[in-house]
Subunit: 450 residues, 2 copies
């Protein structure tokens, strides 16, 4: 809650007036989804409070420092923290109860069991539904949920003393990691799901204020909005799985992956964007949403084959890669394998759902010694630390290695010098599913592509 | 072989000159693939002979009449037949042996077993490879083949007396039925696969002559070209299966299919084109290519899950539809069901691979009496005649019917009058997976959508 608002707390009329022109906003969750919305709204003149449970993240953000890599978001965050348009706080019952516009942008599902974090949602419902309001607040679910979650959350709200009047809107985010701010400022579309007509009005008023009328708004019910969110990511996973599978076959048959990709993608109904072969689709969204769309918690027995098929291609890729590695390297036990890049996509520092890490885990099971090198990662990186070696010196990383595998297509790896690397490694095998390297140049130095 | 060419047959030099400037062309197969190429080349001044084994098709084409529905192709066919640039003949050994540029555009696989028609290809190889040539002819495979078919065909050629010098090119077609001529004149891309560098030159010379340099040409090997062809159609099937599955779920859950489709497709990486729910993907290409890509004859053990998954969604759609019909109508035995539209897509008269026909077969197995109405079909339509009633009078078609199902989204059905139909039918159930009808208008007249 911004300071000027608290000062005016006694004067009910003035607060109400303030609410109607530019209502104060609470954003729960300081991940890239919550922060992108919070910072954008703050740049548009709204007073925004971000509630975040992680102490160190809160104190870092309070200094205007972003806790992950995203340039434009970092720059704007600094400005709105300095101008006091955006404040960051630990979760606080009073803030929750005094807010009329509440975005929920927490990690809605557990990252390993993929069960919805019902505990967090129950607490939010109890806090917000614990106070009587003259004008009921609106809760906007931005987090990705299982299909039908809003129905379950509605029940949680209805159980609280004053929860049944709370408005509920499903307004899923569609942000590319690394471009969360750009995508928040200029979305391709806005999805607004609500089961009661009036529930969406406060949010629509804000969006009319901050977005161009050219951005299409799709108004629908809550469940359809939930489906749209999951299905959009499943579609992308499904599309990537397609080209991954074609490339997998092409590699096995020694065909020309690049011309095949081009030949298919030049069909204008198919396209070449978002169509790059690799180690499978990863990240914190695509695999997760392929699981969530088929979640048992969804209370429907429908099985989306598109999601199941996509996940299965992802597994097959790793299996076939390991099979081919063994064909070339023999038994992997004790062999050092260097993976260049651990992030789940290029030019970012996030390893959540990284296929390079999935591959590393599978190779480790086979007894290989994995060393990562990634220019964007620090040694404290959670998924790496304790499990794999992260070696920032490239020479050390590849020394005595049996195979170099491109794990993330960071642009920096394009300029690797095969002449230099040939002298360091033990066996000259390379895996580059991304088509990042100049094969001819590497082969000239004795490297063999698997 | 055009008349002027035969007249000059004695004079070797003049013939060779003629070959180099605009070589005469033989196209084997007068389906829409063969004819579109043949007619286009003829409009560009080439002398083209089309060889077709069906007597009645030959005599019809010789009169300049197209044997299927495609306006622009029909118009241009008439012109080039009149100007004698295009001739049509039954298969003839001499014509085959005298041709230097030979397009093969026959139905390459049997329409029910999906086995390659090796008999036809063997005969073609034997005829063409049976004569010695000063300059070896080039055979261009336009038909869709299993992956690795060109290798098998190469072996067939090599076994013939003079076949080993014959050039072989895989140049797959990507034509939309109903738009074959447009797509031949202005393709999105041209794929040229050959395993010997010089093999493709004669075809490249022709294409440089008839196509703008802006149209991308992807040069690759034969097998990659075969994969590009199959994979492109599998991609489209896979894309359609995705939206079909999402719509299937949405209907079961009574969600708003239209807003869901829009909400997903407005993601610019997804798009709204080629993304329309329906009874599954059909036609003579998509299901066929999903089977061919996994053909046992391909001599690889790879299983493309994208193709398997897409086919499986297609089956699920019909199963779920029948389940829902039974829920509303009860036992289907003896009940009349009217299917509006039998063609595999709108505004055409081709029922090959039509989902409406697949549905009809499944309903017939359950004992339902199926009556089709389709403004584009004649009673002689192969897949209908003898199996289902084709009733051209709409009133008679719907009379005493238990359900009306949109089988093909022909535009004409948009203007159906529910007031009138309500009086004719027995039970007022409607199935419209295409979103063609105005639900509110129909519901007002007592119809219930399944």
């Amino acid at each position: 809650m911004p300071v000027n608002h608290l000062l005016l707390f006694q004067s009910h009329l003035i607060i109400e007036f303030n609410m109607n022109s530019k209502p104060d906003i609470l954003v729960i969750g300081a991940g890239y989804v919550g922060l992108a919305s919070a910072v954008f709204l703050a740049t548009k003149g709204y007073h925004v409070t971000v509630a975040e449970k992680n102490d160190s993240t809160v104190s870092q953000l309070q200094k205007g420092k972003l806790h992950f890599r995203e340039q434009l978001l970092a720059k704007n965050l600094k400005q709105v923290v300095n101008s006091k348009k955006l404040q960051v706080s630990l979760p606080d019952k009073k803030i929750y109860q005094d807010s009329k516009i509440i975005f929920i942008a927490i990690d809605s599902a557990n990252q390993s069991s993929w069960k919805m974090r019902m505990g967090s949602f129950t607490k939010i419902a109890q806090w917000i539904g614990g106070k009587k309001h003259k004008n009921a607040p609106v809760i906007i679910l931005k987090s990705t949920n299982i299909i039908g979650f809003s129905e379950q959350f509605r029940k949680l709200l209805d159980k609280t003393p004053f929860g049944e009047h709370i408005k509920l809107v499903v307004n899923p985010e569609f942000l590319r990691e690394g471009f969360a701010f750009e995508d928040t400022v200029k979305p391709w579309r806005i999805i607004i799901g609500s089961d009661n007509k009036n529930d969406a009005k406060p949010l629509l008023d804000i969006y009319k204020n901050i977005y161009s009328s050219k951005i299409p708004i799709v108004k629908t019910d809550c469940k359809s909005a939930e489906l749209i969110k999951l299905a959009s990511n499943v579609y992308l996973a499904h599309r990537l799985a397609f080209i991954h599978e074609i490339a997998d076959f092409a590699r096995l048959e020694k065909l020309d992956v690049e011309s095949i990709k081009k030949g298919i993608g030049l069909d204008q109904r198919i396209g070449l964007d978002y169509f790059t072969p690799g180690l499978g689709f990863g990240g914190s969204c695509l695999p997760k949403d392929c699981i969530l769309i088929n979640s048992d918690e969804s209370k429907n027995s429908y099985k989306f084959e598109s999601a199941i098929g996509a996940m299965s291609v992802n597994e097959k890729l790793i299996k076939n890669l390991i099979k081919n590695l063994i064909k070339s390297l023999g038994d992997l036990r004790g062999q050092k394998i260097t993976i260049l890049g651990a992030a789940f996509k290029s030019e970012i520092d996030d390893t959540r759902g990284s296929r390079a890490v999935v591959l590393a885990q599978a190779l480790k099971k086979r007894g290989a010694k994995i060393v990562f090198n990634d220019p964007y990662l620090s040694k404290s990186e959670k998924l790496i630390a304790g499990t794999f070696t992260l070696e920032s010196d490239l020479n050390k990383a590849v020394k005595a290695s049996s195979a170099i595998i491109i794990g993330t297509p960071h642009k920096k790896f394009k300029s690797l010098k095969p002449t230099m690397l040939a002298k360091k490694v033990k066996l000259q095998f390379v895996v580059d599913y991304f088509g990042l390297l100049n094969n001819a140049k590497w082969e000239k130095q004795g490297f063999k592509f698997i």
